[in-house]
Amino acid sequence: MKRFNIVGKDIPRADGRAKVTGTAIYTDDIKLPGMLYGRILRSPLAHARILHIDTKKAKALPGVKCVITGEDTPKIKYGNWRLFPNTQDEYPLAVDKVRFIGDEVAAVAAVDRDTAEEALDLIRIEYEELPAVFDTDAALKKGAPLIHEASPGNISLDRKISYGDIKKGFAESDYIREDVFTVHAVSHAYLEPCSTVAQCDLDGRITLWTSTQVPYIVQCLLASTLGMRENDIRVIKPYVGGGFGGKMEMRPWEFCAAFMAKKTGRPVKFTLTREEELATGRRRHPMKIYSKVGFKKDGTLVAKDLKIHLDGGAYNSMGPTATFLSGNFGAMLYRIPNYRYLGQHIYTNKPPAGAMRGFGAPQSLFAAETQMNMAAEELGIDPIDLRIKNAMVTGDKIPDVATISSCGFIESLKEVAKMSNWKRKRRTLRTGRGIGVGCYSFISGGVFNWFNTQYPFSAAEVRAFADGTVHLLTMASDIGQGSDTTLKQILAEELGLKMEDIRITAADTAMTPQADLGSWGSRVTLMAGNATLEAAKKIKEVLFGAISARYNLNVIYDMECKDGRIYAKGRPDRGMSFGEAVALVQKANRGKPLVARGHYTPRGKGLVTPAFSFGAQVAEVEVDRETGLVEVKKMWTAHDCGTVINPTGVEGQLEGSIHMGLGYALSEELVTKEGKTLNTTFLDYKIPSALDMPPGESICIETYEPEGPMGAKEAGEGLVSPTAPAIAEAVCHATGYRCKDLPITPEKILKGLRKK
C-alpha cells in the first residue's frame, strides 16, 4: 500500500481551536447594523383550510417592521427533487392549506425577538379544520382524507427494484421467514438550531448566511422561489453545529429572511428554538417494513421480498431518496440472487421526515440484520458464520446498481468476532448478559442527479503562490464532520506541503467554484476529495514542467513534490522550493496567476454510488430483568472505509455514530399524539448523555478504493446503522426478548420476558 506523509495521520482539526475557545462564528452570532429579528407563526392544526388571515394588529404593534403570509409571496413550490417537479410540494409559507402542526403560515420581522414573538400572538387566522391521518395504515385506507390533491391514496411516490426470479427463489428455499418490523421517528438533535441571516444590497441582490449542509441547493431554490437569478443570491456557510441530514434543504426561514430583507431593506435574522426544532423539525422516517427471506438449509440466502411503507409526514422533503435507498440497503451486505423491493412514500399529517444520517439504512438494516439474527437462530448457525457465508466481496455486482469495487466485509466480521471474544461469550455469558452483532454497508455519495444540477457534483480551485502557500476554494461544506481538515490533508499530501501552508475558503457561493451538492450521503471525502486532487495534479503538472525545463532534465525523469520541494526523483539536487517553482512559472507567463480547477462527477458508476463502505459491530449488554433497563457495556467495531485520511476523524465519526445508534435503539423517540409532538425538550427527548456512552474498541480494515481519493471512501454515516440491530440481538441473547419494533424500551423488555 502507498505510503503517505500527511494522509493517515492524526492531524488536529482545522476548526478545533476556534470551537473550543468559543471564537468560532456561527450564524446566530452574526449581528448586522439595523438587523431585524424574525419569528414564524405555525399551524396549531394538523390539517386545515386557511379561510382568512388578519395581520392588521400585528403590523400595528410598535417595533414590527414586516409581516408576511403566503399571499404576499410569489407562491412558487420548491423541493430538492428538481428533476421531477411534481415531487416539489412545499410552499415557503402555507397557501390555502396547512398539513401538519407546525406548518409555517406567517412570519414577522421586528426590532427585537420579544416584539416579534408578541406580534405572532396578534395574527388572527380562521381555519376550517379537516380530518387528518397520523399513520401510514390510516393514510392508505379507502376514503382517507387527502393531504395533497395531486397524490391520490396519499402515496406521494413509489420505487421498485427487482432482479432474479423471486418466485423461483422462494420455491428453491428450504427455510422461509416473514416478519413485520416497525421503526420510529427520531430527531437529528444537532447542537445548533437552524439559523439564518439575510441582507439585501441596493441592487436587490441577497447575501444569506445560513446554517446549512447545502449552500448551493439553498442558493438555487431561494432563487427559484423568489423569482431571481441564482447568482444574484450569495449563500455563505459560517461554522455549522451539526446537520445529520436535517439541514439539507432550503427551508422557510431562509426564504422569509431573504424576502423580508428585500422588503424592508434591513437585514433579517431567524433562529429557531429547540422546542420548534423538536416539535416541527425534520426527522428520521418511521417505517413499516414487511420482509420475507428464503434460505437453503446450509444458510445460503436465496431470495428476499421487501416492502416498506415510509411515513413521510406532510411533505416529500428528502423522502424520494430515502424510499429508493431503503430498498437499496435491503439488498446490500449479502449476495441475494433474487430480490424484489417496493417502497411507498406515504403522506400523513405530521411534521415531514427527511434525510437523516443513514438515509434509510438505519431502518432497512435494523429489519434486515434482525431478520438475519432470527434466521441464524432457527437455522442453528452462528450469526457471524451465517453472515460470512453470504457476505459480499470485492467484484460482486448488484444488478443495475453497481459493482463493488472494494469490500472488507468478511475481514470486518472476522476481526470483530476476534476482538469481542464472540464465540466464547455467545456460549458462556450468564442470564441478563448478552452479546449481539449488526452490520452495515453504505454509499460514498449518490450518483442519481435528482437536483438536476448543470454543474459538476463537486468542484475545487487551487491557487498557488510564490510564498509557498496555496489557497483551496471549494463549496464542500464542513458542518462539523471535519471535511475542511480532510480536504486540506489531501491537498497537502498531493503537493508535498504542510497543513499550515494551506488556506481554505469553503462554501461561499460567490467565491468558491460552482458547484457542490453539499454534505450528505457521505459524499464529501470521495467527491470533493477527487475534485481537490484533480486540481492539485494540474498544479503539479505545470510545476514539474517548469523544473524539467529549468534543469534541462531528460524527459524520462519522474518528478516529485515532497517536504515543500519540487525535484527530479532520484536527483533531489535538481529542484527548488514549491514557492520558487511557482515564481518560476509565473515569470514565464508574464505574472499570470497559477490557478487550477478540478471537478468530480461520477461516470459509469451505476445508479447509486461510486463506492460502498462495509462494517460489523458487536454489542455487549447487561439487562436488569426486574426494571427492564439496558446498559450497554461495550461496543466492538471493525469497518472498511478504504484509506483512512484522518484516524481521529474516523474515530470521531464512529463514536458519534454509536451515540446516535444508542439513542435510536434505546431511548430516543419523538412521541406524537394526533400529530402533536409531546416531547419538545431535551428533558423528555432522551439523547444518551456522555455518561451513558459505553467504552469501545475499533479497527479499520485496510482496503484501497480505486474510485476514492487516495483510496478513501465514506466513514460518516454507515456506522450509525449496525448499533440498533447489534443491541437488539444482545438484548435478545440476554433476555429472550426479540425486538421487532424500535425503540427497545424497558416496558417492552419486561413484557417480552413474561412471555418466555
Binding site: 425577538r113 420579544d114 414573538e117 426486574e626 426494571t627 433497563l629 446498559e631 434505546l666 431511548s667 412521541v671 409531546l678 416531547n679 428533558l683 423528555d684 432522551k686 439523547i687 444518551p688 448523555s689 455518561l691 451513558d692 424500551t745 424497558p746 416496558e747 419486561l750
Partner: protein, 291 residues
C-alpha cells in the same frame, strides 16, 4: 428569552425578602437557583412582575450538622454542596445521593434542594428521602418562623403549603434513631443523567431483626410525593425478612397512583414502585445493620 419586564430584588435578609414578597403581592416570586423558575418564564407558564433573589442573603446557604439534633440545609445551599458535603455523605448518604441524582452537573451547581422542594414537582428527586426521614421545612414570614413536617408541605403539583409572604429558609432533618438505615432508589429511561420516572425513599429502624418503624415515600407516582402508609404498617413490628419486604413492596405499588406520560406508562410505574421499594428496603436494612 422572553424574560423582559420584571423587577429584580436582591434583599440582604430574610425579613427584608419576606417584607418585599408581601408588598409586591401576587406577581412576586422567590428565586434560589432559578433553574426551575427561569424555564417556566421562558415557556410562558409564569409572568412574574417581581423576582426576589435569595442568593444575596448571607448565611442562607449554610449546611450544619449536630449529632444530637440533626442536619439543617439552608435554602440557598446548592444541590452540589449537599451532594458532596462530607458530613452529609457520612451521616446521610441517601440525602447526598438524592441530591446527586437531581438533573445534571450544571444544574446542580445552580439549583438548590430547597428549590427542588418548593417547585413541588411530583418527581422532585430530593423529596422521597427527606419524607422518609421525617424532615421539616422552616418557613419564615413577617410574623416569625414556623416549622412544618414535609409530609404536610406538598399540596398538589406545583403547590405547597407556603403562605403569602413566607419563605422556606431551611430544611431540617432529624438524626435517625440508632440502628436506622435509609435508601433512595430511582429509575429513568436514560441511564445516568435524567429526570426520575419513579423514585423511592425509605427509612427503617431496627430492633434486632424486627423492624420497629418503616417509612416509605414515593416520587413521581402521584400528584405529590407521597407516603406509602399501608406498606409501612405491614412492616411495623415484623421481622424484616425478604418475604416481608416483597409484601410491603407490592403494597406500596398498590398505593401508588401514577399517570401515563411520555416518561413511562402508569402500569410500568406501578411495577417499578414494587421493584424499587424492595431494593430500597433491602439497602436500608443493610445500612441499619451497619449503623
Amino acid at each position: 428569552m422572553n424574560i423582559s419586564g420584571f423587577e429584580y430584588f436582591s434583599p440582604r435578609s430574610v425579613e427584608e425578602a419576606s417584607q418585599l414578597l408581601l408588598e409586591k403581592g401576587k406577581g412576586a416570586f422567590v428565586m434560589a437557583g432559578g433553574t426551575d423558575l427561569l424555564i417556566k418564564i421562558r415557556r410562558k407558564l409564569l409572568k412574574p412582575a417581581v423576582i426576589i433573589g435569595l442568593k444575596g442573603i448571607p448565611g442562607l446557604d449554610k449546611i450544619s450538622f449536630n449529632r444530637k439534633q440533626g442536619l439543617t440545609i439552608g435554602a440557598t445551599a446548592l444541590l452540589s454542596d449537599v451532594a458532596h458535603h462530607p458530613k452529609i455523605l457520612r451521616h446521610f448518604p441517601a440525602i447526598a445521593y438524592a441530591a446527586k441524582s437531581t438533573a445534571n452537573t450544571q444544574i446542580r451547581n445552580m439549583g438548590t434542594v430547597a428549590g427542588n422542594l418548593c417547585n413541588a414537582a411530583p418527581s422532585a428527586d430530593n423529596a422521597p428521602t427527606l419524607l422518609a426521614m421525617g424532615a421539616e421545612v422552616i418557613l419564615a414570614g413577617t410574623q416569625g418562623e414556623r416549622r412544618l413536617p414535609l409530609d404536610q408541605f406538598f399540596i398538589g403539583p406545583g403547590q405547597t403549603a407556603i403562605e403569602p409572604g413566607e419563605i422556606l429558609t431551611a430544611i431540617f432533618v432529624p438524626t435517625p434513631p440508632p440502628h436506622s438505615g435509609v435508601s433512595y432508589q430511582w429509575i429513568s429511561a436514560r441511564g445516568k443523567v435524567d429526570i426520575s420516572a419513579v423514585g423511592v425513599g425509605v427509612m427503617v429502624t431496627m430492633k434486632g431483626k424486627v423492624c420497629s418503624s418503616a417509612k416509605i415515600a414515593l416520587g413521581a407516582v402521584a400528584p405529590t410525593p407521597m407516603r406509602a402508609r399501608k406498606a409501612e404498617k405491614i412492616l411495623s413490628g415484623k421481622v424484616l425478612s425478604s418475604r416481608m419486604i416483597e409484601k410491603a413492596a407490592l403494597e406500596a405499588s398498590r398505593e401508588a397512583k401514577p399517570i401515563s406520560d411520555v416518561r413511562a406508562s402508569a402500569e410500568y410505574r406501578k411495577q417499578m414502585v414494587a421493584v424499587l421499594t424492595g431494593r430500597a428496603l433491602s439497602e436500608a436494612r443493610q445500612r441499619a445493620a451497619k449503623g
